[in-house]
Assembly symmetry: C2
Homo-oligomer: 246 residues x 2
C-alpha cells in the first residue's frame, strides 16, 4: 500500500474536500510519484501543488463555463497514457465512489484490461461536519445517514425550471435520518419545499455550507422552513438536514 | 492544520478502517505528537504503532469480552488529561462523527470548556467499496447512499433475540439506494428477511465483508434472498446492499 505509482496502472483516488491535511497518506504517495494527473475541477490547487514537478497535469473538469471534456474524453486520456506505460492518477474531489461517475470509469478500465487501484477519500459531508463540530448520527435522533443529490428536471416550454430530489422518495421520508445533499443546485427554497412535501418536518435544522474547507467558506444555519436562497454563498454548496445537526 | 497536537486540547480523530495508508496527513501528525492517545477497540495495531513512543496509550474500547469502560469513564479521562495540559488524541475507527457517539463527547467537552478539534476519517464503507472496486452510487440505479445500523432488541423471556433495523423505515424503502449496514449483528438471515419485508427486492445484490482491510478479510457476495449466516466471517462485518454493487 506504500509503493509508488506503477507504470501502466490507473489510480482512481479521492482527493478529499480540498485541505491537503485531509489527503490520505496513500493519496499523497501516489500524487508525488504519478507520471500523469487527471484532476476534476473541484480538486484544490493546494492539493495539486503536491504533484511531482515532472508530472503532466491535465485538468478534466466538466463544470459550466469550462471547456467541455466528455466522459469518453477522460476514458481516452486514461487509455492513452496507461498504454504508454505511464502511471495515471485520476484524482476526484471527495471520495471517488460517491457521486463521481466512477462506475463508468471502472467499466472502461475493466473492458480495456487496464490494471487499476481505487483509493478512498474524505467526502465533503465528513469534512463539513468536523468543521461544524456536529455529529452526523445520534443515538436518539438520527440512526441513519443519507447522501443524496438534487437535479434540475428539464424545464417545459413556458414553465420555470423545477428542482427536484432525484428521484422522489417512495413513501414517507425516514424521520430519524440525517440527510446530506450534494450538488443541490441554486433553487434552495424550492428544494426545501420539496423536502417538506416529502414528509420532512419544516422545523428540521438545516445548514448550507458554501465553499467548504476554503478561505471563502460561508455557513448558513437555519431550518427548512426559513431557508433563504439569498443567504447561501456560491457553489459548491453542501446541505446538512436533520435533528442531529447542532 | 499542520501544527502538532497542542497542550490542553482534545482531538476527536478518525483513524480510518485500519490500513495506516488510509490515515489522513492531519491524523498522522496528531498521532505522532499527542501526549495521550485514547483509542477505540477497532483502531488497528498498525495505526497505533505510529503514536509517539513517549505517548500514554489508554485503550477505551467497549466491545464484548473486554473490561468495560463506560462513556462517562472516557469523558473523565479526557477531562483529567486536558486539565493537566496534556494533548489528548481521542482516536475512533472510521470517521468520528458516524455511529461513534461523538455527540456525547462533543457535548461533554463543550460543557467543560475544553478546547477541541475534530478530524474526519475514511469510513469503512468507502474503504470496502474501494477494495471491491464497486461504486456506491450509480446514475441509473442508485441516486442515494444510506448508512444504517442494526441492533438487537432486548429479547423477551422465552423468545429468541430478534434483530431489527433500528428503527424501522417509515413507508417503503427507496428502491434507488445503496444501503450500507454497520454493526449488523450476527443474525444476517433475519436481517435480510427484515429488509425484504421492508420493501427491498429479494434479488438485490449484497456483499458482506468480515474484517475489512486486514489480512483476515473475508468477502461473501450474494443476494438478500440467498444470504447465509454460515458464509459470513467474524466481526466486524459490513454489509453493502444494492444494484450499484458489482
Amino acid at each position: 500500500m506504500n509503493s509508488e505509482a506503477q507504470p501502466g496502472v490507473v489510480y482512481l483516488v479521492g482527493a478529499g474536500p480540498g485541505d491537503p491535511g485531509l489527503l490520505t497518506l496513500r493519496a499523497l504517495r501516489l500524487l508525488q510519484t504519478a507520471d500523469v494527473v487527471l484532476p476534476d475541477d473541484l480538486v484544490s490547487d493546494e492539493v495539486l501543488a503536491l504533484a511531482s514537478p515532472s508530472a503532466l497535469v491535465v485538468p478534466v473538469g466538466k463544470r459550466c463555463g469550462q471547456p467541455r471534456i466528455t466522459q469518453a474524453g477522460i476514458h481516452a486520456l486514461m487509455l492513452e497514457h496507461a498504454t504508454a506505460t505511464r502511471s495515471v492518477l485520476r484524482l476526484k474531489s471527495g471520495d471517488p465512489l460517491v457521486f463521481g461517475r466512477a462506475g463508468e470509469e471502472i467499466d472502461f478500465l475493466t473492458e480495456h484490461h487496464i490494471p487499476f487501484e481505487i483509493v478512498p477519500g474524505i467526502t465533503a459531508a465528513f469534512a463539513v461536519a468536523a468543521e461544524l463540530k456536529t455529529p452526523l448520527t445520534d443515538r436518539s435522533s438520527a440512526s441513519k445517514l443519507i447522501f443524496a443529490t438534487a437535479h434540475h428536471a428539464a424545464p417545459q416550454p413556458g414553465t420555470p425550471a423545477r428542482l427536484e430530489l432525484a428521484p422522489k422518495w417512495d413513501g414517507a421520508f425516514p424521520k430519524d435520518a440525517t440527510l446530506v445533499i450534494y450538488m443541490p443546485g441554486r433553487n434552495f427554497r424550492l428544494l426545501a419545499d420539496d423536502l417538506i412535501a416529502s414528509g420532512i418536518d419544516a422545523e428540521t435544522p438545516c445548514v448550507a455550507v458554501s465553499k467548504a474547507s476554503t478561505a471563502d467558506e460561508r455557513v448558513h444555519r437555519t431550518t427548512l422552513k426559513q431557508l433563504e436562497d439569498e443567504a447561501i454563498g456560491p457553489a459548491p454548496v453542501l446541505m446538512l438536514i436533520g435533528y442531529a445537526i447542532r
